[in-house]
Amino acid sequence: NIESAKGRDIFKKLVKTADFVIESFPPGYLDESGIGYTDLSSINKGIILASITPFGQEGPYRDYKDSDIVVMGMSGTLYQTGEFDGPPVHISMPQACLHAGADAAVGCMVAYYHREATGEGQHVDVSMQQSAAWFQANAMPIWELNKGILHRSGAFRAGMSKDVGQRQVWPCKDGYLFFNVIGGRTGAKSLSALVAWMDSEGLATDYQRNMDWDNFDMFTVTREEMQQVLQPVGEFFLRHTSQELLKGAVSKGVSLGPLSSMRDLLNDECLKERHFWKEIEHPELGASLTYPREFFRSSEIDCSIRFRAPLIGEHNDEVFSKIGISGKELESLKQTGVI
């Protein structure tokens, strides 16, 4: 309990031997409590403090209150998501905290690399707003070069061609599928393969068969041309289930994306073969739950997830014994609410 003086002393002892401190208190809170970066680095020069906050440690919005929808709104993502004629729509699975968490991991590693070379730690300052705003596809260049603002386009996709938006969400027999025409050599390969696939089922049109995909220009394509390409594709999708379409896409090399359910993901053939999922035991639940094993495969090191998230204070004895607190002292600290 770092709100108590004794708790702060214990925290400082832990910092002495720590590599990283990760925190997400409101900006200024740790400084006011005497355990901000300056205090911690005087205890351990190499300490790396990562602060993850809604808007960052400084600046006009630093004390603003947040929620994922507020931060996503202030990053540009929310405005662009939603139906063409409706309000912006939020991604109901919170995202800003994930972008910020991932950035904090990278920031900590950059700081760590520096520390390994110099012995010097530093403060990693992560803002959820900045992390979420960091990737906006081509929105910023469009604004800067053309003073254009990308609007919501719902199931359609704007910004690839000069005049034409195109549908990218398609119904299929049992769900939804995402597909859009892309240009370049990759697009040509994928589209030729799709047309050949449709043709094998007697569903390709002459227009599609005769199209010179290698010279199909996404930038100047007209509305009518796009319609001629896409309408039969839509009819083809309706005749197949999403899993049939995924299988066909894999074997024929067509770029399309069925919308996966959670069940689809857990049964996905590729994830299974790459051993992506791992069962982790939760003894207190008497159950094992499925987690991602690791986010990269290394030829050298196994970085698989090892155990479930800890229960609150689960490792107190182990951790506190390392700084010489155990037995009666530990018990009394527990009773006084310090631990």
Binding site: S92, N138, I142, A155, A287
Partner: protein, 409 residues
């Protein structure tokens, strides 16, 4: 020239990169912006899809004037090399011998085709670190499935969380949204691999799948399914844990604000600020459960208030009253946002074709070793000669001979 002048955490670190689209550049950025020398191999025979994507400076299509490419490629050196030329392989192998890290995000199979598999790289440089990123992994049943961000978003399940009840799922408005996930994971892993190499002398191969990385961004729903057999439902702008929670119309054309109230204290503050203190104890709204039950009515009532004010006014007033609220920023708003401007996210730089142009900066700040804008996005092949002569020690005669044969196209 300035290649050797860079400071920063990764000063002296040498990276050779076969990058494509967004994932490659975002990964290079974390290193280049902190001082690494990053050479990106490109070819005029097939410029990166970003080089041939709108918008263009003055609307003149040209692979050195593309805003999309330029925005994401600050601090990178460009080396033009036509890998299909018979003499290219030798040049590539000399670059491999020069580098510490080889990164690539081409469709699996390309590196093997060019003799640049991990096994081959190791023969040239035993402690090399190879970082591979692809849609579904460099091995596995989907390795040949073409991958783009807009396809990966649905395969990874994200649109299940976007849209209104009973209506079709929607894409994330920022296209290729998942492209910003894997680079972060890859960079953290690559730094760990560098540290491991520095301590053990051993290199390694890292393989990332963008599909797998994106699944980390919906994990609570996977756990919910595993535990409760519950598939996610589209819920518009609602939240199970907060009400009011949503997007509300404001004064002006297509102007909106967000409001998110997750505690009774915030509810009280909101009611006072909008001049409706009687709503605090109103039986329709006095608890979170009741606010959830009467959410439509609550949203209408709030919208009737917000529509009289600008989004900026709503944000300033509600935040001052202790209620989470913000402007729903469009691109212009985000470009001018005073908080983002205060941080290191936009780097205006002078580019020989684009003029003064904003390049993307970094996504976090380091107190002692800040990321820096060293050089604008390169023209295609801009650094070929300099790299050949200064870094590979190639003679002028050899360089000219290779150039005349079209190796550097």
């Amino acid at each position: 020239m300035y290649i050797n002048k860079r400071e920063g955490v990764f000063s002296g670190l040498k990276i050779l990169s076969y990058s494509w689209a967004v994932v490659g550049p975002l990964t290079m950025k974390f290193f280049a912006d902190h001082g690494a020398t990053v050479i990106r191999i490109e070819t005029r025979q097939r410029p990166c899809t970003m080089r041939s994507s709108a918008p263009y400076k003055d609307n003149k299509p040209n692979y050195n004037r593309g805003g999309y490419f330029t925005y994401y490629n600050a601090n990178i050196l460009s080396f033009a090399l036509d890998m299909n030329h018979p003499r290219a392989s030798d040049v590539a192998r000399r670059l491999v011998a020069w580098c510490d890290v080889f990164m690539e995000n081409y469709t699996p199979g390309n590196m093997e085709k060019w003799g640049l598999s991990y096994e081959e790289l190791k023969k040239i440089k035993p402690d090399i670190i190879m970082l591979r990123q692809s849609g579904y992994g460099s091995w596995g049943p989907y390795k040949n499935l073409p991958a783009f961000g807009m396809v990966l978003v649905p395969i990874a399940g994200l649109p299940n969380f976007i849209g209104w009840p009973g209506k079709e799922p929607l894409p994330v408005g920022v296209s290729a949204y998942t492209d910003c996930i894997s680079p972060r994971f890859a960079s953290a892993a690559l730094i760990a691999a560098l540290d491991y190499r520095n301590k053990t002398g051993k290199g390694q191969m890292l393989d990332l799948s963008e599909f797998e990385a994106a699944i980390y961004y919906i994990m609570p729903a996977i756990l919910d399914y595993v535990s409760n057999k519950r598939e996610p439902e589209r819920i518009g702008n609602a939240s199970p844990y907060a009400a009011p929670h949503g997007v509300y119309p404001c004064k002006g054309d297509d102007r909106w604000c967000t409001i998110a109230v997750s505690s009774d204290e915030e509810w009280m503050n909101l009611c006072r600020e909008i001049g409706r203190p009687e709503l605090v104890e109103d039986p329709r709204f006095n608890t979170l459960a009741n606010r959830k039950k009467n959410e439509d009515e609550l949203n209408r009532l709030l919208g009737d208030w917000t529509v009289n004010y600008t989004a900026e006014d709503v944000m300033a007033r509600l935040q001052a009253a202790g209620v989470p609220s913000g402007v729903v920023e469009n691109t212009a708003d985000a470009y001018n946002d005073p908080q983002l401007r205060k941080r290191n996210i936009y780097w205006p730089m002078n580019h020989s074709e684009m003029g003064n142009f904003t390049h993307l900066g970094q996504s976090f700040e380091l107190s002692k070793t800040p990321a820096r804008a060293y050089s604008p996005s390169p023209l295609l092949g801009e650094h070929t000669e300099q790299i050949c002569t200064e870094m590979l020690g190639m003679s002028d005669e050899e360089f000219v001979s290779l150039m005349q044969e079209g190796v550097f196209e």
